[in-house]
């Protein structure tokens, strides 16, 4: 059986992290499991955790009054769920729900923020890992907003 330290540091988000830092962040980690349909978090809730998916599929959803929720992204093995934990005032901006059995590492956000604040080198490293994820999700959102498949070009 793999130790939680090995699982955390082999996860794509923390892969290559300095060994000492790895020990530090592992102190904030625990294994969690979500059954199909379970919510990881709800919009507006406190962003107390971030989740590193080890196995499974998680949908990000926005509730629409009077209608079923709209799913706008799914995340899978190796992905990070939740970025609001790093951004004050630390509230989730959407819902996250497991759509298959999902096993993940839950990182205590208070703990991780504290360690990042105490050691700016670690904090900078974590930010450098988060920024590409934020950027790629921003680009994906831009493409989704353009609705490129919904409005075909008129060439006639």
């Amino acid at each position: 059986m793999k130790s939680i330290a090995r699982i955390v540091c082999e996860h794509p988000f923390f892969q290559g992290l300095d060994g000492e830092f790895c020990d530090l962040v592992c102190g904030c980690a625990r294994n969690v499991r979500f059954n199909q349909g379970d919510y990881l978090f709800h919009e507006g809730g406190d962003a107390d955790y971030l989740y590193l998916i080890r196995y499974g599929q998680v949908a990000l959803e926005i509730a629409v009054p009077g209608k079923p929720p709209v799913r706008f992204q799914t995340l899978h093995d190796g992905d990070l769920v939740g970025v609001s934990w790093i951004l004050p005032p630390y509230h989730w901006a959407y819902d996250a729900r497991a759509i298959t059995l999902t096993r993940a590492i839950a990182m205590d956000a208070h703990c991780l923020r504290k360690k990042c604040d105490e050691d700016p080198v670690l904090g900078y490293d974590v930010l450098k890992r988060l920024l590409p994820i934020l950027t790629s999700r921003l680009h994906a959102t831009q493409l989704q907003i353009l609705d490129v498949y919904g409005a075909p070009e008129q060439l006639e």
Binding site: Q57, A59, L60, E61, P68, P69, V70, R71, F72, Q73, T74, H76, G78, I99, T100, S136, H139, A140, L143, Q144, L146, D147, V148, Y149, G150, P152, E153, Q154, L155, E156
Partner: protein
């Protein structure tokens, strides 16, 4: 200019099948013998008499081309009329035209086929070709992105291809309700998750131009060389012979030099508006 290439040949519609809410597949007589042979990625000009003519990609199997298959989305006056054609109706046909997908250049390499929305139609003949000559290609990955689960083109066929052990099919949609258990997100975001060898990969991309731009960025970020990325460009083709200039794209005539072009030929022009 040969008159023959400019004169539409009347052919009959043999079959019409609805694919999506506004998208139909037409099976046409092939007309004279020369039209039966086409290359994956080529297109025909389809003419509704008295209305107009539009370029429509061939979307059938070039290896079984007794008839011609075209998938049409009804978005304008001509395509609306095309989509409404019934069996035994007549349509004008010119073609096939253009340069197709690099089926020979891709031999021995891994193939990454990326389709967005109706862009799967021009790629389908390439997929048929690859499956018929599967031993000639390495890993074959098909990425397909579209707006919603209801907008998945050739859904049954994608499901069949996905069952094959020698083809990897990844479908993603931009938005979905909670009854969709597949992937949600944009198709370029799938590229970094595939773990392919960029130096040994030929990519074929077709879809809305913005989707192709984002996909090319993802492919280049992954290390695929510009000359190994092929795009099928959509431009306002009229004569289909490189004479009228309607589809001119820099120094390239999309109808004659394309529609399939390697990215190194269109680099820098991809974001230009049509002129």
């Amino acid at each position: 200019m040969s008159d023959d290439l400019m004169v539409p040949e009347p052919v009959r519609v043999l079959r019409r099948q609805q694919e999506l809410a506004t998208t139909w597949t037409l099976e046409l007589e092939s007309g004279r013998a020369g039209r039966r042979s086409f290359l994956p990625g080529q297109f025909n000009m389809l003419y509704i008499f008295g209305v107009g003519e539009v370029p429509i990609s061939l979307s059938g199997d070039a290896g079984q081309s007794e008839t011609l298959i075209h998938t049409v989305r009804a978005v304008g006056p001509v395509s609306n009329k095309l989509a409404a054609l019934k069996p035994m109706d007549t349509v004008g046909l010119r073609g096939p035209f253009g340069v197709g997908w690099p089926m020979a250049a891709g031999e021995g390499a891994d193939l990454l086929i990326v389709a967005g929305g109706l862009g799967l139609a021009p790629l389908r003949p390439a997929i048929y070709h690859v499956l018929r000559h599967r031993e000639r290609y390495g890993r074959v990955i098909l990425l397909y992105g579209t707006r919603s689960p209801d907008d998945i083109l050739y859904a049954g066929q994608l499901e069949e291809w996905n069952k094959r052990p020698d083809v990897e099919v990844h479908i993603t949609v931009d938005h979905a309700g909670d009854d969709w258990l597949g992937k949600i997100g944009v198709v370029p975001s799938l590229v970094p998750t595939l773990g392919f060898d960029p130096e040994d990969t030929v990519a074929m991309v077709c879809g809305p131009e913005i989707m192709m731009r984002f996909t090319v960025n993802a492919l280049r970020d992954a290390g695929v060389e510009d000359e190994s990325i092929y795009l099928s460009m959509e431009r306002n083709m009229k004569c289909a012979l490189g004479h009228c200039g309607h589809c001119q794209f820099g120094s390239t005539f999309v109808c004659k030099d394309g529609p399939v072009l390697s990215f190194d030929r269109v680099r820098g022009l991809l974001s230009l508006k049509e002129f």
